[in-house]
């Protein structure tokens, strides 16, 4: 079997809500690539949290690093679920120390988590709160990790919450292969990147983007992706921050 090669592009654009108030984007994303193993994480800092952006950034980096360092055997299903839960627990406790050092509470760093762990033979999504993760195989069939909201669309769950384990969802995916696509996104991106039936990407959005990225350099690709997320047409769709990580396998 030919080795798997990933092209990964990540971009985050502040929504009009934050642009209007001159406050920074509260989303953060991070990924690490080693051979055919990809760890990607996108976090959305809660608008109600005073340091949501810091929390999102810390959690995305820490999780990616911890999972990147995990032994290969621990990344394969079914061990992956426990590896992920342990990485989340460690990240959360580091974040708590950080919060205490700043005389703040963990709640001040509230953020959602949507991530993927993908190697040649295995792949999983892990997810707390809203946002979407989508795996599309080479034939176009999709596996989706949907958002978890409360009764209302503006309620969700965060890693900082006491009962976060009850809201951790791990989705086993088909083995990644050439031509498959992984997308991780914050809830601001979902209205235009996810289709109406919410079971996959919205093709008129994702197809032109993927076609462009396949032949783009990492720098050009990320700049172009940022251009799409910051496009003023998105302002009439959402006022929220928009983050998208796309991983294309070849």
């Amino acid at each position: 079997m030919a080795p798997l090669r990933w092209q990964v592009f990540l971009a985050a654009a502040a929504g009009s809500h934050h642009l209007d108030s001159a406050t920074p984007c509260q989303d953060a994303g991070h990924y690490l690539l080693a051979g055919d193993t990809l760890v990607g994480v996108v976090c959305d800092g809660a608008g109600s949290a005073s340091h949501g952006r810091d929390g999102a950034d810390f959690v995305a980096r820490s999780l990616a690093q911890l999972l990147h360092e995990a032994p290969a055997a621990d990344l394969a299903a079914p061990a992956a679920s426990q590896t992920i839960a342990t990485a989340l627990e460690r990240t959360r406790s580091q974040l708590e120390s950080l919060a205490l050092a700043g005389e703040r509470s963990l709640r001040d760093y509230a953020c959602t988590v949507v991530g993927c762990l993908a190697t040649a033979g295995n792949a999983v999504f892990f997810h707390i709160g809203d946002g979407y993760a989508v795996f599309r195989d080479a034939a176009g069939a999709c596996t989706v990790s949907p958002p978890e909201n409360g009764e209302f669309a503006d309620q969700t769950y965060f890693l900082s919450e006491a009962g976060w384990q009850q809201h951790l969802r791990v989705t086993l995916l088909p083995a990644p292969h050439g031509g498959c696509l992984i997308g991780l996104m914050s809830d601001g991106t979902a209205p235009f990147a996810i289709n109406r039936s919410r079971d996959g990407f919205y093709a008129p959005f994702i197809d032109p983007v993927v076609n462009f990225l396949r032949t783009a350099s990492p720098i050009d690709g990320e700049r172009a992706l940022l251009g799409v997320l910051a496009d003023e047409r998105t302002f009439s769709i959402t006022a929220d921050d928009k983050t998208l990580l796309l991983a294309l396998a070849a």
Partner: protein, 224 residues
Amino acid sequence: MSLAIPDVALIDNSDERAPLVLVLDCSGSMLEDNKVGLLNDGLKTLETELKNDPITARCGRVLVISFGGDNNVEIMGDWTDAMDFTPPALMAGGLTPLGTAMKCALNEVESQKAQMRSAGVSYKRPIIMLLSDGEPTDDWRQVAADCKNAESAHKVNVMAIGIGEQANGEILGAFSNKGALNLNGLKFKELFIWLSRSIQAVSRAATGTTVQLNPVDSWAQVQT
């Protein structure tokens, strides 16, 4: 190489809604000082304001309930998306069956939520705005308690607003945990501009945000 990705469709595939119920006093006293006329003008302002903002026009969902006549409560048409909202022409006359009207509003909110849920449409916390220039002529105590309980359970946000000096602020205040506010003079226009901005804030609220509504000093009487 150009960095603009060609032919990317950017359209909204989500179906998020921010429901609003207006519960409006159309009793005989609303004829005094042409309050009902000013209220009708205010609703037209609301229509314009809601439609002017693209996100609010798409997300806002409005229902008008009027009360007056011979203890009549009338649902003025169906729930409509803000972009299709046409205000009804309200006529004043008769009694003030405020309790029945609020009961109707609570029921409508719950059945609309059930409908949206079954259609897979997500929604923000509904707002019920009650406007009255008097006091109820029907049984209101149980309904007022139901409204407060629904608020405490985060099912709905109730705003109770008195119009003029004859409005019974104490009774109106019993319908919301926030108490009642009183319209300063007859600033219906300012009130509905504020309401539209509130719907805008709710529509645009990011997940996990506590929606901070704008200050009410443009239309509310300052308590001294």
